[in-house]
Every structure is written in C-alpha cells, then in structure tokens.
Symmetry: D2
C-alpha cells in the first residue's frame, strides 16, 4: 500500500471490537480509550479523561496522553493493515504543550510512512477548545506476513 | 546544584510517601510503581508488572513502561529538588527494545542535566536477567522557585 | 503571543539577511539553506541539496535533513519573536522516512506551542513529488527578554 | 549476534578507511569526524570542532553534534556488522544540554539493542572537562543480508 493510495480495511467500530477482545487491559484498567473515526491515511481516537487520568496539578497525566498516542498509532496500523498483525511500538516521542482538564481529548492521527516493516505516524492531541495539549510521533514495527 | 555535586534531599521512602499523597492515581489506578533507591544524580524505580500491565502478545505494555520512565524522571526531580516544585514533563522519547514478561522491571535513572528550569534524564528499564526492555530520555520543566 | 494570534515580525528576506550576518557558517560551510516564506504560525525553509549533501547510497544525508529541520525551528522563532533573542535548540527528534535525491527539499514548519520560554515546532520535509522524506519535532528555549 | 556476546569485526582504523571511501562528503565538507576506538558493544567517535562548527553564541552547533551522534551509530553498526550493509538511520532524538566551545568532543556510544533488522544506540557527547554537551538515542535499520 502506498501512501497516496490508502484504503482502510476496518472501521472504527470493528477496531474497537477487536481491541476489546485482544487488549482487555485497555478497557478494564485504563478505560475510556476508543477509536472515533478511521479515514484513508489516518484516524481519530478519543480519551474521555476523568479523575483517574489526572496528575498533580489536576491536569491529564503524561501516561494517559502517551496511551492515547500509542493507541492512535495502533488504530492506524490495525485499520489499514488488518487485525492479523502482531505489531509493536518501537519508538514514541511525545511533547507536552498545555495542561488539559478532565474531559474528552481527541488524538488526530496521520500515517506519515507505511512501509513494508515500519509504520510512522504522528498524533495531535487536542482538548476541548482545539488547542494542542500534546503532540507525538511514533513508529510501529510490523512482522512479516506469512 | 551542579551535576558534579548532587546531593539528594529526599529518600526513596520519603518520595514514595509524597507520591501517595499528591498522586493517588498512581497507586490506585496504575499501581505498583515505586522508588527503590535514591543516589546522588539518579534513582531506581520499580514496576511490579502483573496481568493488568500486559498488552497483546503477553508482554508489558508500552504505556506501562512509559509510566515507569516518567515516574523515574519525577523521582529524580523530587529527590534532588524537594517536594515543593510542581514540575511537569515537557518531552519524553522512548525506545522499546525487547519483550518483557510480567514481573519486576527496574528503571535505572540518571540525571544528565540539572539546570535552573530544565532537568534532563535517561532511564534504562531492565527486566529480570538484566536485558534492557526499553530506554527513555526525557525533560522535566521546573517552575521558578518563589 | 498566543497561538491563535500569530503575527510574524520578520519576512523571509529579513530572516535570510540576519542569518547571513550572525550565522555565516550556515552559508559558507553548510550552504544552500534559506527561508522561503514566513506565515502566521509557521514558515517554509529550503535545502538545495547537491552532491555535498549526499550519503552512501546517493541520498540526502541525515545531518543535512537535521540541519534543515533545525533551521526551520530557528526561522520560526526569529520570524515570530524578532532577532534579539539568542534562542537555542534543546531537543530535536527526527524520523527518516524515504530516500531523497539531490534537488530542492522543502521543510514545512508549524509552531505547535509558543510559550514564554519554550517554542515547540514540527517540520515536514518533502522532496520534489511531495512525499515526506523526513519529519521532525523540536523545542527551542528562549532566554528571558531584558 | 546477541547483546551479551558482542564481537567487533572492524577496528577504528578500518572503519575510518571505509568511511573515507564510501562517504567522502564527511571528510571533505563536514570534516573532522572520526572513530577513535571500537569496543565490544560500543565505540567512541570524535569531532574536532573548529570555527566552522560553531553557531551564533560561539558554541558548537546542533547540526555538528547531530552529525557526531549519527556517525557514532553508523560506526557501531559498521564495526559490529561489517562494511557490506547499507544501513540507514530511521530515528534520532537528541537533547542539547550545555554549550561546548571549539575543541575535541567525544561521543561515547553504546549499542542498546542489536536486532536482526534494527540497531538501537545511545551517544553521550562530552566536551573537555567531561560534562555532557548533548545526548542522543537513535535507530539504524539494516537491510536483510543476502
């Protein structure tokens, strides 16, 4: 698949159902992360941040935003590659820019490269009002298809 | 404080007690993260990874390792600067290198720079056996002392 | 200056003239880096890559693309803050995605955060044809104004 | 090759001779980068920084330090894998910590992971006196051996 010709193979609903099945920890222990939308070459994921996602100072914690970014990359891979791949994150770089209060935070994800073995993506995480709370760039490694 | 002359002002026990008070989410929802040791210019933090910290494939998840790295940087700042500062992570870059099974994972943290407003650290996260599961470099911003 | 209300204070030509004066190394030894355009909240910088910018394999080298990204961040700061600040890069993360041959490479830069002391930006570096050769995110630290 | 059992296959002199042959740009245009020593699992590389490597403020420029880090990773790969591989940098994250004046800057490099297709390394770049001027972590991708 070349980057000019992205064609998702799973919808947001299908991705959420798949995540519930293979990654129950995300739903049980971290909770409140889900795919909102899949588009050619990207996706939007949401964290409904509550008290449990806050850190000292009353703002959404770094680990909660990292999880949103990581899920965003995973949803990019799943939705464009299919559910069979056991892909893993190899690198993620995140910048925290503004404090975000509890509430919905949307991660707008773009696939920057979709290679045979590496997928590079970025995620712009926006709090209500539209300002960027955090921005991340990451890489998923995809094992060879059999 | 210059990097040649580090002198911690809090012990691991004091840091853990402080974290329990100001960051209850870490204990209640993420659980099992704590400071093991504080040394001049660094610290060791531990994640006792259980089922809840795993991801598809049965290995410790990226968000769990990110949290360990982030806590490691926070413990570096708290233990060397004191509990009054409301420091925040501004950047964290993490590389995932090897799968790690459930069990203790130790984050060996070094302060690379301790400036007036920015603290740079790195964390080598090792699973039992001593191989690096993940490695991170990060920056905490410290607000001006009053 | 808030991110919603960006107002550049220098044009691309003024930035290039300033760079020539304070950073002669860029022109003499690295050469062929310049600002093409300044827009509210961003800028475009160009590297005219020649033989000297190539690495084994005949593609534009990592250091050449890093320099383009770093200059992009510097032009963002200069053009929106003015020439008096002696700002310095504190962090830069770069992903190399596709090989790029000799020729013009444009770095499309966006300011993601413009704080009192830290400016965060990203740069999408595109070779002719429009595909991303490399993508970077970085932070500049701005010393307090006197 | 497992990380516990590193055995370099090229010396620093052999690596320098190889670099001179395949990467003349490094010697002609960037100059003054070379391997000092290869050890099992790492290497030391040196930049003899002169006027041409400085940036505004009279300190060694970000691109010059990035080049040192990138060369350090390349020397790690070459010395432990051999000269046949056309490896490429996929990611590099660098933190700039202290100003460094003109003079020798040594990059102390460690291989953190040596996988079948990805090599992860870090580099501690020290100015005379021993304080870290910059620290980088990076990844090289190695194409399949034929």
């Amino acid at each position: 698949m070349s980057i000019e010709n992205f064609k998702p193979v799973m919808t947001a609903e299908e991705v959420n159902a798949f995540l519930k099945q293979v990654y129950p920890q995300l739903n049980d222990d971290f909770a409140d992360y889900r795919a909102l939308e899949v588009t050619p070459g990207g996706c939007t994921v949401r964290l409904d941040a509550t008290e449990r996602h806050l850190r000292p100072g009353g703002t959404v914690s770094g680990p909660s935003l990292f999880t949103l970014a990581d899920i965003g990359g995973y949803v990019c891979v799943l939705s464009h590659f299919g559910p069979e791949a056991l892909s893993v994150t190899t690198n993620l770089n995140i910048n925290f820019m503004r404090k975000a209060e509890a509430g919905p935070i949307d991660g707008h994800c773009r696939i920057l490269k979709f290679g045979k073995s590496l997928v590079v993506f970025d995620v712009d995480m926006r709090a209500p009002g539209g300002l960027t709370a955090a921005h991340a760039t990451g890489t998923y490694s995809i094992p060879p298809r059999k």
